[in-house]
Amino acid sequence: MRTIFRRAHVCDPSQGVDKVADVVVDEGKVLAIVEDSTPYDVGGCEVIDCSGLVLTPGLIDLHVHLREPGYEYKEDVQSGTEAAVVGGFSAVCCMPNTDPPLDEPAVIRGLLKRAEAVGLARVYPIAAITKGLQPEGLAEMAALKEAGAVAVTDDAYPLQLAEVLRRGMEYAAQLGLTVMTHCEDKSLTRDACMNEGLTATIMGLRGMPPVAEEIQVARNCLMSLYTGCRLHILHVSTAGAVRIIRWAKEMGAPVTAETCPHYFALTDEACLGYNTNAKMNPPLRTQADCDAIIQGLLDGTIDAIATDHAPHASHEKAQEFALAPFGIVGLETAFALSYTELVSTGRMSLSQLVDKMSCQPAKVLALPGGTLAPGSPADIALFDLRRKWTVRASEFRSKSRNTPFEGWELQGKPVLTMVGGRVLYREGM
């Protein structure tokens, strides 16, 4: 069926479009962006009045934990992709630390089958780089790719041995797979649960020094340069890491990087009062790090904004700080947080933000979407940027409630998400 989005503020950085126009969608694809869609208005097509709304390519999240299989009490494909479309995301890349992990073709196939049956946001599995997410022993990457994995990663289990990383990157490179890495030298973070610094010192908690992240960012960038393998640095949190990635890019390393809204919206002081909803890995850092992250986004050092959506059940977070699991949910707050912190403060243009949350993520892993060019999939998000709303975790579609942003007033709300020409979420319009 044909759908016409009429009089939308169309923002598509992939084509340099930033104007009021009509968008015509037909048979699951974008047909045209036109000033006047009257000629396209055939009988029976749905016309959506978008006056005052912003229309963008659907957001793409490079870093999500759907928790299925194995941890369905925290989240599953249904609830996770529902949270995604509510957040304006038409596609999510899911991490392999499930149980069993995404290290076998059958597990990848099973996951994709589930996602298809659910039929909400597109799901792109990221496979484990090593068998069983163990420190050594490569996973069968060729078979995993064939089964549908779009990249490989060590997320949550950072490779400590440079040799394993080297072999993993050499092997992935020949298959055209990008390696995504969580950067953490574990010998520097033993028993640590937040950022190392004044706040941890006051709270009497063991801290993770920024250098634990930076050492691995540097090592991994060097290895990317040496092997030629595309490297994507997950959730950058420190100023030093931004500097190292900038240098690596200047050196010609095929490196991309992401950060998450919490790394520019919050500092480690959010942990005061032993707030386990502010406990994540890498940890929240300092204001200087937040400023450097924003600078990195602006100058292109950091390519994308992801969520690292990491759901945990309430009873798991209601523990002693050091014992609670790392991670926060993010799909339903990511756009509004980024818009509120970056665009409405004048630090970034709307077009730049859409580029970081849609176009660049698509480019990083060569995924469909991230553009409204004619013929591309009709993955579309619609936002009401004037809308102010208050974060209420109890209203999340995600099964979990672990957000440090409860009660925050944010600006900018996704009001419609379309995936492949089908409207999967619509609110207040």
């Binding site: 004044l198 941890a200 006051i202 709270m203 009497g204 032993y274 523990q319 002693e320 700080f321 050091a322």
Partner: protein, 306 residues
């Protein structure tokens, strides 16, 4: 007025002064032949200890008993914790038995804070991880005040494993709120990150750290720190940072020496100093009972019951 005692960082100076004054007046009860007053009769105080402790637990229990409260002692080693029960479930069950006050010691920083948020009865932090140990700091402050007549403008040097010490953190907040100057002295590997941004002077050199001090407080050195590579050897530590008669030469002539216990004699403190004329270590223990009486008295509404 406070409703729990979790941290001295969040306790007002006037409340600290009130607790010290009350403890001072209660101390007299300890010298009576019949150590019993009816102040907290009928109140139930539970001590929940997830870490081994002799002096703190007995001190709290004696304080409660002197004021006629009933006490129950729960050691985590013999409780449902061993069956995997969470901290919150454990304390909610205790509360369901209609107890009036919970005194808790726990190896995790922030645990007392977590419990206080969940319970509607007074919670006393008897030491949580590396965070705080407020009653220890109060008894230290009471002891100093008894010897010096004041806390204002005194220089207190706290020596040793600052990083892992809840005693150091509570004393820092308590003492500075009462106008004392605090120094942290210890090897760089035992000083926490950004410690110099706290209201404290930081020294790695013992001699400089002790110069002109009115009070020297040695902290217990935990042997397991060496296994994590934080110190080369106990020998080097005791030579460089151990409190002995020679180290005390640079302090004020009337400087007192304190230790929260238990002591590693010959490591962080020399025998002759621990037992010498400047040592007030056993007075600290006595004052501990008075301070804990004062804390329970104010938290359990002793005024109304008295």
């Amino acid at each position: 007025m406070f409703t729990d005692l979790i941290t001295l960082r969040e306790t007002e100076p006037e409340d600290i002064r009130l607790l010290l004054d009350t403890a001072q007046s209660f101390k007299e009860i300890l010298d009576r032949s019949v150590k019993k007053v009816p102040t907290l009769r009928g109140r139930q105080v539970v001590t929940l200890f997830y870490e081994a402790s002799t002096r703190t637990r007995v001190s709290f229990e004696n304080a409660a008993k002197i004021m006629s409260a009933d006490t129950t002692s729960v050691a985590a080693a013999t409780s449902s914790v061993q069956k995997g029960e969470s901290l919150l479930d454990t304390v909610r069950n205790l509360r369901a038995m209609r107890i009036d006050c919970l005194v808790m010691r726990h190896p995790q920083s922030g645990s007392a804070h977590l419990v206080a948020q969940a319970l509607d009865i007074p919670v006393v932090n008897a030491g949580d991880g590396m965070h705080e140990h407020p009653t220890q700091a109060l008894l230290d402050m009471l002891t100093i005040r008894q010897h010096k007549g004041k806390l204002e403008a005194l220089t207190v040097a706290i020596v040793g494993d600052i990083m892992h010490s809840r005693v150091a953190r509570s004393n820092l907040w308590g003492l500075t709120k009462m106008g004392a100057k605090v120094r942290f002295v210890g090897p760089a590997t035992l000083l926490p990150r950004d410690v110099q941004r706290l209201p404290v002077e930081v020294y790695t050199d013992l001699r400089r750290g002790l110069e002109g001090a009115d009070v020297v407080m040695a902290l217990r050195l935990q042997q397991e720190r060496m296994e994590r590579g934080l110190l080369p050897s106990l020998r080097e530590y005791s030579q460089r940072w151990g409190i002995n008669a020679r180290a005390l030469e640079v302090t004020k002539p009337d400087c007192i020496v304190m230790h929260p216990g238990p002591m590693n004699r010959g490591v962080e403190i020399a025998d002759d100093v621990a037992d010498g004329g400047r040592s007030v270590i056993l007075e600290q223990v006595t004052n501990g009972v008075a301070v804990r009486m004062a804390v329970l008295y104010h938290l359990l509404g002793g005024e109304a019951a008295a």
